[in-house]
Symmetry: C2
Subunit: 318 residues, 2 copies
């Protein structure tokens, strides 16, 4: 009997990664192509479909059941990619529909953070959980909310934009045009902004002063913090405090069993998680004390996006 697989596709601003994934979450094969920058999405969809078909033809005895796609500004209800600032296609692209025509199989699409939530649910640490939240801490902050075993898509299909919850009215300018959004503080870019502000405002010595400010990134801040640099540790504490507030504020809404953290910033490990735990315990509403855990995602970061997209396909095929 042929092995059943789905194709998981993660569309990013630069690269598109895709792979064939079985029902247990094993990636049989994966590849990547450059995300096409021509304005006509049809060109890219044809190329991507051809690549997947070729991948399938090289794998002996597999049977493609469907396709799952994670994409920025992906709309689950409509299968569209809408006004994505980092992609070349303008307006509203009916991506899933076009892909379905090429592939002749069911195609389901959502945003990347939502796909990560489904990945955690099917293949990660949320397998037995009905209520959880995943926060993806990358360049920005994405989120997926799962309630009663189902992903929250909302009326628009865009629910779970927790990176754009306003934490500090009138605070830092955000790419969305507003001020004080969570992702301007808690993300790889947010933590760098904090470090630069601290370096400017404070007199304190810091290993970060030896680096050209234009070159500081979140990994460097984690390195100097782990060497005991006080300013860098303060940067993590500040980031953790805002994230903790965001978490306890999400807890009063959906009362999750766990909040999973995924993405580059989580590699800082205890540097982020220890102060996060401390602040969350101090800030949580008494009725929810000890009712939830804050955990790193169990999905390896390198495979997360493809596994998430594949998980979405498997979930829909059920």
């Amino acid at each position: 009997m042929k092995k059943e697989v789905v194709a998981g596709i993660d569309i990013g601003g630069t690269n598109t990664i895709f792979g064939l994934v079985d029902r247990s979450g094993n990636i049989l094969v994966r590849n990547k192509i450059t995300t096409d920058q021509s304005p006509d999405p049809g060109i890219f969809i044809k190329k991507l479909s051809d690549e997947i078909k070729e991948m399938l033809s090289r794998e002996a005895d597999v049977n493609l059941k469907g396709v799952g796609i994670g994409a920025p500004n992906g709309n689950y209800h409509k299968g569209t990619i809408e006004l994505a600032p980092n992609l070349a296609w303008k307006g509203i692209v009916p991506f899933a529909g076009l892909m379905e025509k090429e592939m002749g199989k069911p195609v389901v699409l959502t945003n990347d953070a939502t796909a990560a939530a489904v990945g955690e649910m099917l293949f990660g640490a949320a397998r037995d959980m009905k209520d959880f939240i995943i926060l993806t801490l990358g360049t920005g902050l994405g989120s997926g909310f799962v309630v009663n075993g189902e992903v929250v898509y909302g009326h628009t299909g865009f629910a779970g934009e927790y990176g754009h919850v306003i934490m500090l009215p009138g605070g830092r300018e955000c790419g969305c045009g507003r001020k004080g959004c969570l992702e301007t503080y808690v993300s790889a870019t947010g933590i760098v902004r904090t470090a630069k502000i601290f370096l400017e405002e404070r007199k304190q010595a810091s290993l970060l002063r030896e680096i050209n400010p234009a070159h500081i990134d979140s990994k460097m801040i984690a390195e100097t913090a782990s060497e005991g640099d006080e300013l860098s540790l303060d940067v993590f504490d500040y980031t953790a405090e805002i994230l903790a507030l965001a978490i306890v504020n999400a807890v009063v809404v959906t009362s999750p069993e766990a909040i999973f953290l995924f993405g580059g910033l989580v590699k800082a490990g205890k540097l982020l998680l220890d102060p996060l735990q401390k602040h969350a315990e101090a800030l949580v509403q008494p009725v929810f004390r000890d009712s939830f855990k804050i955990l790193p995602s169990a999905i390896p970061e390198t495979n997360g996006a493809v596994l998430g997209a594949a998980a979405l396909a498997w979930k829909e095929l059920k």
Copy 2:
């Protein structure tokens, strides 16, 4: 054939209101008793059950299908009332279970704001909506979140405590032991706190200065505001701005089709709703612009609690 009814019960700190409600949301009969202040909940449960049985015996040709209860700190998953500060029963009371023994019918219990959400869904303006939020603006602020047609109860059964989302870290002291919770600003008591602060901080003339500060209530502020009193109008604007921020922050999580406002403070009508609309439009994330409506609840306030509890019973019986 006998008419099928459920009993809807609203347990409050002072009174318990109950009635028989048919499948269309008609209240056939209603009554109230004092909420018993003796520490043994069994005494009250017996009394309440007897009252309902008597009510049933007086109505010709009705058939009781079940019982729905809205109660402060009601836990849907467990059917318990837990550590309710305004009730005499201490600890965790298995209220639904005890009531079921007395009545011999299925009993379902949740907190009062969640019951209001179910009421709106079955008998109010949310009949065709799968995703909406209800905020009950009374002494405190309660909330019910509905996602994909289902109430959000969460892992603990206490989800939807939006009155305790922290809006201003380090802000006003809240009864929950923390600071800056939404309900310390947006509720009948919150708006009075704002008025008193404005009266103290500002030199401005105001009709409210003619009232003994200890006697100011939210209704008076609405009256003076509707007479054009500037300070009172500012109080509404300030309240509306914080509520608008809370609403746009909830919108990024669940992307509702509507946010319904229920309770005493909503009687202020345009005094609250006009500035609320203005601030929400200014604060909303662009992707959600025009995606949701802010509306007064379609359930009359006097019947809301009983109808909500009854709706909960009808929903579970389906």
